[in-house]
Amino acid sequence: MAGKTLIKVKNIFRTYKLGEIKVPALNDISLEINQGDFLIITGRNGSGKSTLLRQLALVDRPNSGEIYFEEKEVTKMHSNDRRNLRLTRLGYIFQEYALIAELSALENVMLPAMMLEPIKKCRPRAELLLKKMGLQNKMNNLPSQLSGGEQQKVAIARSLINDPEVLFADEPTANLDTFAAKDVLQIFKKLNQDEKHTIVMVTHEKEEEVFANRLIKLEDGKIV
């Protein structure tokens, strides 16, 4: 049964400028994301799926249209309030891990929580998350001392540290081998089914679609 509506998207457009040329990436997109969804956004390269994810995760702003998070309009929200939402309510996982090179796995995970609470409170939580990811022996390793799969797990742990409602993942398995990719997808499945996190994931791997309970396909910036 679908939960309450968490995110509502109304007629958003997003155009990028490549030099003098305007490239339309999203063309009149509307959709709703409900609590507990495992939504996969799929489509070919350049179809606009990552662009849509960034609008939903408040990393980018659409040129027009509206996005509501828990019925609150967020597209025109002050950047500070959007940042606060990203910090406390949303988690974002980049395709290329995006860890801070000078921080250990544990420090990378702790960093967003350090904005909100004392280290003695966030450290045990970060350790627990890394243990859940099977990285209990690599907590003090720097990103350069971890494999791609391990780095992505650290990135997932970091996105979970402030216990967000929604996790956004931008092709999280694109740079991983098959074994590591399966491992990561299992983690997402568990987070969705056992811990009731809403997950929005972009992928173009057909076999990953089975993990989703909702699927949308983009083509030329439109949902098809």
Partner: protein, 400 residues
């Protein structure tokens, strides 16, 4: 702002310093050190030239001040009484009367007019250090009545400016003729001195006894040089005046005349060079910090994407740059005082007014220290502001 987020800049800064690229760190600190040395070096060199000039005037020419005849008189009368009175002051370290001799010198058919002074050699030693600057022969004794010592600008020889009028390599033991108009006397060159202060090196000295033999004058002088225990003579002058000595007083600053305008010019040049140095330092530091921060653009974008406030990122860079600049200043200070100052003490710059060493004025040093730290922070803040104001995606993707 909450109390927890304030530790984020320190946390990030500490990790960047601890685990960042050590070569980049060293290069930035080294650059700061060189920029700092550049600022301190020029100021210290000018300080050295100015102080060196002042010391040369005091040590070889005037003492801390000179007493000259009151207006309307040619001589100071009762010199021994005047000297006795002056010596009662505890701050007076030495007093030397001088008598200006109006005459010309002739050697080997070369005839010229230079300042010739009749002195008491022992008293002169208590005020000037000409006796320590003999490069050939010896200094005068009180009883030398037919001996003369001449400066290197008079004797001539290697190193004396080609165009300068001189005796073209006159040597110790050779004779010079002192011509006083109606009167002539032959003197033997007893010594040649070289103080490196051109005004002194153009002088010749004979003894008071020799002058008395030529032109008996009772207890008179054209000047009395006074040496003090400290540089500022104004207080001592007032005390001497209070003792009833109503002659004219000329301090070493007054006597320096032309040198004062040179000093003024040096101060102006120093100011301009400091400004240019600061500008160059600011631009160089800006470029280096800009490159460093631009290289971390993606990282800054990620920090913002995960919810770290931009001002915290900027503060982390400001702290980082402050640490770079303090480390740069410390390294610069170590290199400056450990290598440059000892080197230039051993091998000073040789100038016509004397040797110039590097002399650091503590106030100048502090100002330059503060300047380099402020310039570095300013130069670092601009790129940090630029990167943290970019769109998150532009920062992550490295787009302008």
């Amino acid at each position: 702002m909450n109390r927890y987020e304030t530790r984020i800049p320190f946390f990030l800064m500490w990790k960047y310093l601890l685990r960042g690229n050590k070569w980049t760190l060293f290069l930035i600190i080294f650059l700061m050190a060189i920029a700092f040395i550049n600022l301190v070096f020029v100021a210290s060199l000018f300080n050295g030239i100015i102080r060196g000039t002042e010391d040369q005037i005091i040590n070889t020419y005037t003492g801390h001040f000179m007493i000259t005849p009151k207006t309307g008189s040619d001589y100071i009368e009762n010199v021994s009484t005047v000297i006795e009175k002056i010596l009662t002051l505890p701050e007076v370290k030495g007093v030397a009367p001088e008598m200006q001799v109006s005459g010309s010198l002739e050697y080997n058919k070369i005839k010229g007019t230079w300042p010739i002074l009749a002195i008491d050699p022992d008293k002169e030693k208590t005020v000037t250090n000409v006796s320590e600057k003999m490069i050939s022969g010896e200094y005068l004794n009180e009883d030398d009545t037919d001996k003369i010592i001449i400066g290197r600008q008079i004797s001539g020889g290697e190193g004396v400016e080609n165009d300068a009028f001189s005796f073209k390599e006159a040597k110790v033991g050779e004779k010079v003729l002192l011509n006083l108009g109606q009167l002539e006397k032959e003197f033997t060159i007893k010594g040649i001195f070289y103080t490196k202060f051109i005004n002194t090196d153009e002088r010749a000295f004979i003894t008071e006894k020799a002058w008395q033999a030529l032109s008996p004058s009772d207890n008179k002088a054209t000047a009395i040089l006074v040496r003090l225990s400290e540089k500022d003579g104004q207080e001592a002058i007032e005390k001497i005046k209070a003792l009833g000595i109503d002659e004219n007083f000329i301090t070493w600053e007054d006597a320096s005349g032309l040198m004062q305008s040179v000093t003024g010019s040096f101060l102006s040049i120093n100011f301009l060079l400091t400004l240019v140095g600061e500008l160059i330092a600011a631009i160089t530091i800006f470029i280096v910090i800009y490159i460093d921060i631009t290289a971390k653009r993606k990282q800054i974008g990620i920090l913002r994407a995960i919810g770290i406030k931009p001002y915290l990122i900027r503060v982390s860079y400001v702290i980082q740059i402050s640490i770079y600049s303090v480390a740069g200043v410390l390294l610069g200070t170590a290199l400056f005082f450990g290598i440059l100052v000892p080197y230039f003490n051993h091998f000073p710059f040789s100038l016509p007014i004397g040797d110039a060493r590097l002399i650091v004025n503590p106030a100048d040093y502090i100002i330059r220290l503060e300047t380099i730290i402020l310039v570095a922070i300013g130069a670092g803040l601009i790129p940090a502001f630029m990167v943290t104001r970019m769109k998150i995606l532009d920062a992550i993707w490295g787009r302008n």
